[in-house]
């Protein structure tokens, strides 16, 4: 039992920390730390800075352009990015479609798509959920019918994150409706610029355009865009789930947010004293901090066994990780108190330098809270995660 990082690990941490200090643009860092909204350009700019350094895809094997880091190094990198406050590298290309292409795609698909994912030439989005298929994903209805050299796709996807920017979408589509629902699904790559693709925004409760509906009306997709074998898409989708790593716990991000929360609570007052000294509020913060300490240790324990299959433990990390993230947003709103009420979208979009009501720190907090309700719903709702725990770990 030794909880210390090796000197090599610490040297690695210093190395990446120095890189982030030198290369993370201050305006992006400010946006992240203040919970302001990211534009497409913000994401792309940071993606390309990392791509140039060769660090944009830490989980990729070196042969495809990954940096060849160990699991512990990847964890340290995640931690350092969170600590610094970097924009996210959106997972849809780098962490979702790429591993599936690497494992099941053709040589042509690998050669074509992987470099374009690294360079951010293609912006990817994910076509899984449908209006009638949420947690019961395998019931999906979007169909792809073979017509010579193409599939003709009809149907609708929903909750498609940032599809308004996307060049490509990876979709689960039904290619056989006469078999068990899991056995008639294929994994198809579709060009978002194809005729018949329509993107319609869904405004979220914080009035943010983050997700969309995507409609397919007789969209013709070359058969070369099928990944792997027809009707094996469900297997590939499950492979992707098994690919989840410890990053899902978002421990580094929550550590940064906890520091922000304490800062906020130190600067606000209650009964003439800093809020952080209020026993009721301090107890909530401490309870959260302890849960986060435990989660970090749990993450490291999972990491320590990564030679074994990292599968269902990720569900524990997802449930607790998202609960912690949500509680953080909740306590921030509570700390801001009535100052969290005003809503100033122009400030959130960085169209103005200061919030119209004069409290820049408090201005984004309520929107942030509302936005983060999604975390316990997406990526397999926390109830689905509990199903996975009972079935895969407890054998019930």
């Amino acid at each position: 039992m030794d909880l210390n990082y090796t000197s090599e690990d610490l040297a690695f941490r210093d190395h990446v920390r120095a890189f982030l200090d030198a290369n993370l643009p201050a305006d992006l860092q400010q946006k992240v730390r203040k919970h302001l909204r990211m534009s497409k350009d913000d994401y792309v700019r940071w993606h390309r800075i990392l791509a140039k350094q060769g660090w944009v895809a830490p989980g990729w094997p070196a042969q495809f352009g990954g940096p060849g880091w160990t699991p512990v190094q990847r964890h340290l990198w995640d931690e350092e990015c969170a600590r610094a406050g970097t924009p996210a590298i959106l997972p849809f290309g780098v962490n979702m479609v790429a591993p599936v292409i690497m494992a099941f795609g053709s040589d042509e698909q690998k050669a074509h798509y992987l470099p374009r994912i690294l360079s951010c030439e293609d912006w990817w989005c994910q076509g899984y959920s449908e209006p009638g298929s949420g947690s019961d994903l395998a019931s999906l209805k979007t169909s792809a019918q073979r017509d010579g050299d193409v599939y003709v796709v009809n149907g609708q996807k929903t909750w498609t994150t940032l599809a308004q920017h996307a060049d490509m979408i990876f979709c689960l589509v039904r290619t056989d409706s006469g078999v068990r629902k899991q056995e008639g699904i294929s994994f198809l790559l579709i060009d978002m610029h194809s005729p018949g693709v329509t993107v319609r925004p869904i405004m979220m409760l914080d009035e943010d355009h983050e997700v969309n509906e995507v409609f397919f009306d007789n969209v013709r997709v070359p058969v070369q865009n099928l990944v792997g074998k027809e009707n094996k898409g469900w297997t590939y989708a499950k492979y992707l789930l098994g690919h989840e790593r410890t990053g899902i716990a978002a421990v580094g991000r929550s550590k940064r947010e906890l520091a922000s929360l304490k800062q906020l609570a130190a600067s606000r007052s209650k009964n003439g004293k800093p809020l952080i000294e209020d026993p009721l509020f301090a107890a909530k913060v401490a309870t959260l901090e302890i849960e986060l300490m435990a989660l970090e240790m749990t993450v490291l324990r999972v990491l320590g066994q990564e030679h074994k299959a990292p599968g269902p433990e990720a569900s524990v990390l997802k449930v607790r990780g998202t609960e912690i993230q949500q509680t953080l947003t909740e306590l921030m709103v509570e700390a801001a108190g009535p100052m969290a009420l005003p809503f100033d979208p122009a400030y959130l979009e960085s169209e103005t330098q200061h919030s119209v009501f004069g409290d820049d720190e408090a201005a984004p907090l309520a929107a942030h809270y509302f936005n983060f309700r999604k975390t316990s719903i997406y990526g397999g709702s926390n109830e689905i995660q509990r199903n996975i725990i009972t079935q895969m770990i407890l054998g019930l």
């Binding site: 130190a266 301090a282 300490m293 240790m297 324990r301 320590g304 199903n387 009972t390 407890l394």
Partner: protein
């Protein structure tokens, strides 16, 4: 970074497991609990033989200088096996002697299994605040004279020697003026009242009336005992976390088994989602508790006292949350069986509940966590 236990540690755990299965079954334990002494000499002899008493004692005194992580493994098994012997009381008190650096002969006796110890720290009015000490130590001709009363001293009546906190100066709740003494349990003026606790263990109220001890009975410096007492309490709390983890593993395993075998409405009850999700939540609590118990064991060896306090309090708090949920839900999921005396899990539940009330409860440790320097500052 390495999260594996060493081979010796696993061997210790294995030996204890085999001993519990062979000699400390639920029925055998029941007999011990209901016996006059409430403990078993034979069990103690076996623990000594297995090296469990030598484990935490320094090598110079015939021990193995075992770390808190070594002790974690032992306590986890004792918790799983519901062992009611005065092991925790003895090793916690021995830790005071180790930190104090005197009384080598007593430590040798502990290592050999010849001496049991207990910590007489808690007083009726003090709740969980160990600095709230009304017991006094007055300087006498050749040493000190002790007066006062200690409450619910775990395994106080089974111990040959007591580690007693007393005030030689300072205000009742002050950190200055606290002194620690080694007092023979049969010294003149020591009155011990033994009783059962709800979890089948023993504790005692102990009254000290004009008890004379020599100056050599002092552990550490006079009036400067607080830091030592605080460190010893952390050691005990850390070991309790490990014991709680073992008990939780046992009760969780029993509940899981029950869900797979108990049938209602024509199906094993583990097929019902309401119960499945409860189990999933219990599992998450268990894993988070394991993380904190391990972290506490590692940090008990830390030279940084603030870090030690912070982590031990965090662990005792988090384990307190877990044991309440896991314990209560395990009883609930067992249905009527869960509230009977014949179910081992019910006894794990009682032990867990007593652990929450021992060595500082959840509220005490949450407040202590908040009170550590640096809490309010953004990390």
């Amino acid at each position: 970074m390495d999260f594996n236990f060493k081979e010796e540690q696993l061997a210790f755990a294995d030996a204890l497991k085999r001993w519990v299965t062979r000699d400390y079954s639920f029925e055998a334990r029941k007999k011990i609990v209901h016996s006059d002494s409430g403990v078993s000499d034979a069990a103690w002899a076996t623990l000594a033989e297995l090296g469990m008493l030598a484990l935490p004692v320094p090598e110079e005194q015939g021990g193995f200088s075992g770390s808190a992580v070594d002790m974690f493994v032992v306590m986890q098994e004792l918790g799983r096996g519901l062992v009611v012997e005065p092991y925790l009381a003895t090793v916690t008190a021995a830790h005071a002697l180790t930190l104090g650096g005197s009384h080598a002969a007593l430590l040798e006796q502990v290592a050999a299994g010849e001496l049991k110890l207990a910590c007489a720290f808690t007083e009726q009015q003090a709740r969980h605040d160990l600095s709230d000490i009304a017991t006094t130590a007055r300087a006498g001709a050749d040493g000190y004279v002790l007066n006062g009363a200690k409450s619910v001293v775990v395994h106080g009546a089974q111990a040959g020697m007591l580690i007693v906190s007393a005030r030689s100066a300072g205000a009742q709740r002050g950190l200055e003026g606290v002194s620690l003494f080694v007092v023979p349990a049969d010294a003149d003026g020591v009155a011990v009242t033994d009783f059962r606790t709800l979890d089948g263990q023993r504790a005692a109220n102990i009254v000290f009336t004009e008890v004379t001890v020599p100056a050599t009975a002092l552990i550490g410096a006079e009036g400067q005992g607080w830091d030592l007492l605080d460190a010893v309490a952390d050691y005990g709390a850390g070991l309790l976390c490990a014991e709680a983890l073992g008990a939780m593993e046992a009760i969780f395993g029993a509940t899981l088994e029950y869900l797979k075998t108990r049938s209602q409405f024509g199906a094993p009850i583990g097929k019902f989602q309401a119960l499945q999700h409860r189990m999933a939540d219990m599992y998450i609590h268990l894993e988070q508790a394991r993380s904190m118990a391990l972290l506490a064991a590692v940090k008990l060896g830390s030279a940084d006292a603030t870090e030690r306090r912070r982590v031990v309090s965090a662990a005792k708090f988090r384990i307190g949350q877990a044991l309440k949920f896991v314990g209560q839900q395990a009883v609930q999921l067992h249905g009527g069986m869960g509230v009977t005396d014949e179910l081992p899990a019910a006894h794990h539940f009682k032990r867990l509940t007593m652990i929450e009330l021992s060595m500082g409860d959840s509220d005490h440790h949450l407040q202590r966590f908040i009170a550590q320097p640096g809490f309010a500052e953004a990390a």
